[in-house]
């Protein structure tokens, strides 16, 4: 008696929920690439003043700017989905889910603002 097994290929394209999941997962490519950008900067820093300043100048071109813009947006989506899902990953606490999400997003906003302020 032949039971029929349906193929999984293209599963993530068949439902908007899955598309949003794949978008969240896609952020990881940019996070990894960005870490390598930082590593490259660290390497140039270790080489000295001129190499480091040349590396900084290299960032001021359309392609690197576009990469960082895309990365910032996707990692922002990662941050949003991370805090939205955080209540499900924590052990039982006498705090409503919405409060946990709000606390996480607030912490991110505060730290981000502090970082920007420190650089200005």
């Amino acid at each position: 008696m032949r039971a029929y097994q349906r193929p999984m290929a293209g599963w993530w394209r068949r439902n908007p929920y899955y598309l949003r999941y794949m978008l969240r997962e896609a952020s990881c490519v940019f996070i990894t690439a960005y870490a390598f950008v930082l590593l490259a900067g660290l390497w140039r820093l270790a080489q000295g003043k001129a190499p480091f300043e040349r590396w900084l100048e290299g960032l001021a071109h359309p392609l690197p700017i576009a990469f960082h813009a895309a990365a910032a947006l996707l990692v922002l989506y990662h941050a949003w989905t991370w805090f939205k899902v955080m209540p499900k990953t924590l052990p039982r606490v006498p705090v409503p889910d919405a409060a946990i999400v709000a606390a996480g997003l607030a912490a991110s906003a505060v730290l981000s603002a502090a970082m920007l302020w420190a650089m200005l």
């Binding site: 039971a3 999941y21 499900k88 924590l90």
Partner: protein, 242 residues
């Protein structure tokens, strides 16, 4: 004057079909008719060969799970009026082998269920001698997970189960957690092996769609991911116990 809606059903009779096909029926309906009632109308008046599971008609037996326009849903609490004038496409629950038409093979889930030992494990206290006492707070710890009706919508939602059927899966892991969290139960250590395995909680990537589709608000995603912490704790602290 009743309206008519088109219900498109997946058909598969293994004795004659090499692969599934679709068949569309024109079903007269009223605003209070569920998708299940639509299927029953087809079977009663249009095509007696249509095969599907159902029982209670009130979202407690877990029998009538289907894919309705690509979304896992219980036929008895999904209403035709919400799809009119579009076509309602009914398919068997995703990720399971199709036995016949809209009926899937649940064998794998039943094996997963058995593997988590879904009963109170307690050698010391026998209910015949002494009743278990439990505070409302203690019941809170596991109550939502006890509401699972084994309808398998979460398995149809879970792409990790679809990609790898060795994954224990949302409902089985939620029920595992239901018993571990029950103050009357002493069997956590017996269930840890299932939790800690690659296809235990670690098969989950927190897609979260399982909790979205659950008709009973069990929130299996929460049960699975809380046990990732338990599993990690067990992993890192096991040498301290020895």
């Amino acid at each position: 004057m009743s309206r008519t809606i088109r219900i498109e059903c997946l058909r598969y009779h293994p004795e004659t079909d090499a692969a599934p096909r679709f068949q569309t029926y024109a079903v007269p309906f009223s605003d209070d008719m569920s998708v299940l009632q639509g299927l029953q109308y087809i079977k009663d008046y249009l095509d007696g060969s249509l095969t599907f599971r159902w029982s209670c008609r009130m979202a407690i037996c877990g029998s009538c799970g289907q894919m309705v326009n690509g979304v896992p849903a219980l036929g008895c609490e999904t209403f035709l009026r919400d799809y009119y004038p579009g076509t309602v496409r009914v398919e068997p629950l995703n990720h399971f082998p199709i036995v016949r038409d809209l009926a899937i093979d649940q064998t794998d889930f039943l094996a997963k269920l058995e593997s988590v030992k879904p009963w109170i494990i307690n050698e010391k206290d026998s209910p015949s001698e002494k009743t278990h006492v439990q505070t409302p707070g203690q019941m809170e710890e596991y109550y939502q997970y006890s509401k699972c009706i084994n309808c398998l919508l979460c398995y149809a939602a879970c792409p990790q189960y679809g990609l790898n059927s060795a994954f224990t899966g949302p409902a089985a892991l939620a029920l595992l957690h239901r018993y571990n969290a029950d103050s009357r139960d002493e069997g956590k250590s017996e269930r840890m092996q299932v939790v800690n395995a690659e296809d235990g909680v670690w098969g989950c990537t927190l897609v979260g769609y399982c909790s979205e589709v659950c008709p009973k608000d069990v929130d299996p995603a929460r049960a699975v991911n809380q046990n990732k912490i338990n599993s990690a704790r067990d992993y890192f602290l096991r040498f301290l116990r020895k």
